[in-house]
């Protein structure tokens, strides 16, 4: 399990580097998907299979699909690649990466001091345990998240609504039900 942990952790780091240095947006997104799957594997090795499965279903399976979807519709060509290459010049990334390196040193130092000699282990956490915790001590947080999601849903449905005028003229002018329907997958 320890070997699997370090292997998938390494894959996650390399794939994330690929996301940053990649010039083609779709290829960068693919690296991000690989990185998410690697993180799911890390969860798996730490004994949290439920979190691992949710990571793949929610992040890799749903959210990233939407990202890929949008980038595909934008139809970025050679111009985007050239622009990305321009942004990857040393004077652009030198400053931020220096600051990030300082943070990395702090992180590594605190890890070495705090948890030296500890190994990767953990007993598997079942889905039942996760559910029990979510709807027990953390019920308030779950309810707050639910309200936030409901607000987002109402907003999205309001923005995605067709204006009244257009709907009226459509029902008068054309046969009912014709025309572009709601949620045609952004295909226009």
């Amino acid at each position: 399990m320890e070997l699997a942990f370090y292997l998938s952790g390494g894959v996650a780091v390399l794939a994330t580097l690929g996301v940053i240095t990649g010039t083609n947006p779709i290829h960068a997104l693919m690296y991000l998907i690989v990185s998410l799957i690697a993180v799911a594997m890390v969860f798996f090795t730490l004994g949290a299979p439920f979190a691992a499965a949710l990571e793949i279903i929610v992040y890799a399976g749903a959210i990233m699909v939407l990202f890929v979807f949008v980038v595909m519709i934008l139809n970025l060509g050679e111009g985007a690649v050239a622009q990305e290459r321009l942004w990857l010049q040393p004077r652009t990334w030198l400053g931020p990466s220096l600051l990030a390196a300082v943070l990395l040193v702090v992180l590594v130092a605190s890890l070495v001091q705090g948890g030296a000699g500890q190994f990767i282990s953990g007993e598997p956490i079942s889905a039942q345990a996760v559910g029990g915790l979510l709807f027990g001590p953390w019920l308030l947080v779950v309810e707050l998240a639910a309200m936030l999601l409901l607000a987002a849903l109402v907003t999205a449905s309001h923005i995605g609504r067709r204006p009244e005028v257009e709907r009226w003229s459509e029902s008068k002018g054309r046969r009912p039900g014709a025309g572009r329907g709601k949620g045609n997958g952004g295909g226009r």
């Binding site: 299979p49 793949i56 749903a62 890929v68 979807f69």
Partner: protein, 326 residues
């Protein structure tokens, strides 16, 4: 034979099982391509492929020879890496899902605690095959097909997961073997009829089978996302679709029809009989239903199936709580 300790032989047997299940899944997918065409012919009052070999039985061999020897062409305007990767994702993600299906009490590859979630995760990954294939082809029909496919798959995956949660609530576990054991007295089709109906619809939609084959509608899109593919790469998309059909049939049997359980006959026979029944049902649906308009497909998913699964889950939860001891 000193090296053949019980541990080694257990590992060897597990590997043998995995290989056999993999081969049977792929072969069954390939055989279904021919069986489907023969059955479609039967139900639509025509012959179907009946020339190669006695009663067209060697049609599969002819198809395979053709698919292997076709030029494997990659269009110059395509994105090479993703173009090659897409069919591999299509096939691999579906084949990996066979891992969790318990075929008989002794046969089955992985006994995962999160079994059902693993299938949902693999179904989520499967979307990328179509998405990348359509985009990498650099063809507008392929892109439109990929758009439709991903929107449709996302819509139907949302309530596919919800439809299965009723089963999970009744069985009290994500583990597929536990789910089969829980159906010893009563198959879940009875208490979870709406779960079954919505899962069947979602399963057809996620494998892009007729009548949910909008992504590859021949009349409008000339074949959708795999229009630029040829040779074995097309073959992988094509066989992958049938492998998906086998997978969904096996899942329906395991989740709603008691898996291997049944009187008199051995478990394996029951499992294959039930799976075969659902494979035939898939073909019959294709033979008899027309293709609905795309926006109807989407609004049916969001406005009918999603609320139905939510209500089903709510009622199931209430009943489970009422029936619980103490």
């Amino acid at each position: 034979m000193s090296w053949l300790t019980p541990q080694v032989s257990a590992v060897l047997f597990a590997m043998f099982q995995a290989l056999v299940i993999l081969l049977v899944a792929v072969l069954l997918g390939a055989v279904m391509t021919v069986v489907e065409r023969r059955l479609l012919g039967l139900w639509q009052d025509r012959y179907g492929p009946n020339r190669v070999g006695p009663f067209g039985s060697l049609q599969l061999v002819a198809d395979m020879i053709k698919i292997f020897f076709k030029e494997d062409w990659i269009p110059p305007f395509a994105d090479r890496k993703l173009f090659v990767l897409a069919p591999a994702i299509a096939m691999a993600s579906l084949l990996l899902s066979f891992m969790i299906i318990p075929i008989t009490p002794g046969w089955g590859i992985a006994d995962l605690n999160i079994g059902l979630l693993f299938f949902l995760a693999m179904a989520g990954i499967n979307v990328y095959a179509v998405l990348f294939g359509g985009w990498a082809s650099g063809n507008k029909y392929a892109l439109i097909g990929a758009m439709r496919a991903s929107a449709q798959t996302l819509t139907y995956e949302v309530f596919m997961g919800l439809a299965l949660m009723g089963v999970v609530a009744l069985a009290g576990s994500f583990n597929m073997r536990d789910i089969v054991q829980a159906q010893e007295e009563l198959w879940f089709i009875v208490p979870q009829f709406f779960g079954f109906a919505t899962f069947l619809i979602a399963g057809i939609a996620v494998t892009h089978r007729h009548p949910f084959d909008q992504p590859e509608a021949e009349q409008e899109l000339a074949d959708g996302y795999h229009i630029e593919y040829s040779g074995m790469k097309f073959g992988m998309f094509f066989i992958g679709e049938y492998v998906g059909m086998v997978l969904v049939s096996a899942l329906i049997v395991t989740l709603f029809f008691g898996g291997w359980q049944g009187p008199w006959l051995p478990p394996f026979v029951w499992f294959s009989l039930k799976t075969g029944f659902f494979l035939m049902l898939f073909v019959l649906i294709r033979a008899s239903l027309p293709r609905p308009r795309y926006d109807r497909v989407m609004s049916f998913g969001w406005k009918v199936c999603l609320p139905l699964t939510l209500v089903n889950l709510l009622v199931t939860g209430a009943v489970v709580l009422l029936m619980a001891p103490e």
